[in-house]
């Protein structure tokens, strides 16, 4: 399926979802970019994963971007069967308490990647079974990948 067909088959189920249009002068991949509100994420992912014509069974990576006024969680999905790709983007405008539902129930691969985002970006994943810091020590203060992170001087500074 190409991007238009993908969009059509997703919009057949979720008519309110819109593709992110490509802005003139910006570079971007050929994949279909889809903006998803956080409350729709679980439902959409379940559909994407288990709907046979879509069958996005491979979650390549999950990451997050701090846009200063909002957080953006990026899901890169691949179907190993149909070889099509899809990028989901979830915008979180609540900077103080960003939270998205966890997709570990659908893709086990999200397990550590969500923990890593929680660890470094401070985004909570609701329903994650083991949401702890993974790379940093348990008692670390702050989330280093945020743009407003100020490192605390340690004994080496």
């Amino acid at each position: 399926m190409n991007s238009e067909q993908l969009l059509a088959s997703i919009q057949a189920k979720f008519p309110e979802l819109q593709a992110i249009p490509k802005v003139q002068g910006q570079v971007r991949g050929d994949e279909l970019y889809l903006a998803v509100p956080p409350e729709k994420l679980t439902e959409l992912c379940r559909f994407l994963r288990f709907d046979p014509p879509l069958a996005f069974d491979f979650l390549s990576f999950v990451t997050s971007v701090d846009w200063k006024d909002r957080f953006e969680v990026v899901y890169y999905l691949v179907s190993t069967l149909h070889k099509h790709k899809l990028v989901l983007k979830v915008n979180l405008s609540d900077r103080a308490n960003p939270e998205v539902p966890s997709v570990t129930e659908i893709w086990a691969a999200a397990d550590w990647q969500e923990r890593e985002i929680f660890d470094l970006m401070g985004i909570r994943f609701g329903g994650h079974y083991n949401l702890r810091r993974i790379l940093l020590p348990e008692d670390w203060e702050g989330y280093p990948l945020r743009k407003d992170y100020v490192p605390k001087p340690d004994r080496y500074d």
């Binding site: 002068g25 570079v27 971007r28 069974d57 893709w107 086990a108 691969a109 397990d111 550590w112």
Partner: protein, 382 residues
């Protein structure tokens, strides 16, 4: 593969509470078989492992944060230090993402050189795997043969083209750092010729050794469904019988011109994970030979301005690194350094499957399974 089958989710595999019954063993962070500073917290009931929780982060260097403060060419240095056993493919993967965003055309000679060094790097990396896996199983000689003889030869070749033996910084945005020295291609050809014999030697020494097969056959089996659900890529995924390789599925560079097979296993046990890597070394040799036949003199670097700005937007470049699907996701705001860089590290994602992979096996098999997944902690912790 039937993609509609429900995979085991993480929550199913690893319930909220660790089991109360059984003994707790902390494997690492200082242990001969964890290949770096990894700690695996294992609970065992008798001889059977009931839960395994890898504990990582001992080598975390915040590469993604550092990248936000450096210019693009300066980041290549950082990528060397991720998977330090395969720095060439790390360089390449990062450059791939940036080149995609810049839209530069890479000279043909540079593409061939990239394939040659990339595949040499794959062989070198698998040599390290072979050696260390041999040590995990108790055979010492393969290590010194594969690590100390063949890998050294490859490092010598790399040293000639870039001056470094571990952190190369050779593949640059737009091409490669320098052309190959005079006579280098001949040396590579000689090495490839020799290497065919050496791989046969590994087969007699380790691959088909009855004790080795006894230790690794039918141990730590992984189904394709499970591997896909956990996001496992690379030789670990192919060993399950699933034919997936970025070089074929999403060809980059000149891989579409290359003739090679993707070796796959049947049941994804430790021995097949090992065997897939050995077979991959042969395929790499084939590709190097093809490249050496096709390579022509010419430019090795695209025409790029001294100072360039990556346009606003985002790009994702990924390739088949020795340990799996290595990707760089770059978000640019038009400034000289990336706004955000994310690394899809195959070791990191493969390692999380260990939580399910080890469970149910005997304690003695843990080492065999851990070694066969082949992780590099520099890439896991980044």
């Amino acid at each position: 593969m039937n993609s509609t089958t429900v995979p085991k989710t993480a929550a199913e595999v690893f319930p909220q509470k660790p089991p109360e019954k059984g003994m707790f063993i902390s494997l690492g962070p200082q242990h001969p078989s964890t290949h770096g500073v990894l700690r695996v917290a294992i609970t065992v009931d008798g001889e059977n492992v009931t839960s395994a929780q890898p504990d990582i982060g001992y080598l975390h260097r915040a590469t993604e944060k550092l990248a936000e403060k450096r210019t693009y060419p300066q980041i290549i240095v950082l990528t060397d230090r991720l998977d330090y056993l395969a720095a060439m493919t790390n360089n390449w993967s990062f450059c791939l993402a940036v080149e995609k965003m810049l839209g530069v055309q890479i000279p043909e000679r540079a593409e061939y050189i990239r394939i040659i060094v990339g595949e040499l790097q794959r062989i070198a990396s698998h040599c390290v795997f072979l050696g260390t896996y041999g040590i995990d199983i108790g055979a010492f000689t393969p290590f010194l043969v594969a690590f100390g003889r063949e890998r050294e030869r490859i490092l010598d070749l790399f040293e000639e083209i870039c001056g470094a033996r571990l952190t190369y910084n050779y593949i640059r945005i737009g091409g490669v750092m320098a052309d190959t020295p005079v006579g280098w291609e001949k040396k590579v050809r000689d090495f490839v010729k020799e290497m065919w014999g050496h791989i046969t030697e590994y087969d007699t020494l380790l691959t088909y050794n009855p004790i080795f097969m006894d230790r690794t056959k039918n141990i730590g089996t992984m189904t394709p469904e499970m591997a896909i659900a956990w996001g496992v890529t690379g030789p670990n995924l192919r060993a399950t019988g699933f034919r997936a390789d970025v070089r074929k599925d999403d060809p980059y560079g000149l891989y579409s011109k290359m003739k090679f097979d993707i070796p796959i296993g049947k049941q994804g046990d430790c021995w097949e994970r090992y065997w897939v890597r050995i077979s991959e070394m042969r395929e790499s040799l084939k590709m190097i030979e093809q490249c050496l036949d096709m390579i022509q003199p010419g430019e090795w670097m695209a025409k790029l301005p001294k100072v360039y700005r990556v346009p606003v937007g985002e790009g994702y470049g990924h390739l088949e690194a020795p340990r799996g699907d290595l990707g760089f996701y770059i978000v640019s705001d038009g400034s000289p350094s990336p706004y955000r860089m994310h690394i899809r590290a195959p070791s990191f994602i493969n390692l999380q499957a260990l939580q399910q992979l080890i469970v149910g096996w005997k304690v003695a098999d843990v080492i065999a399974i851990l070694g066969s997944v082949d992780i590099v902690l520099g890439e896991v912790d980044r």
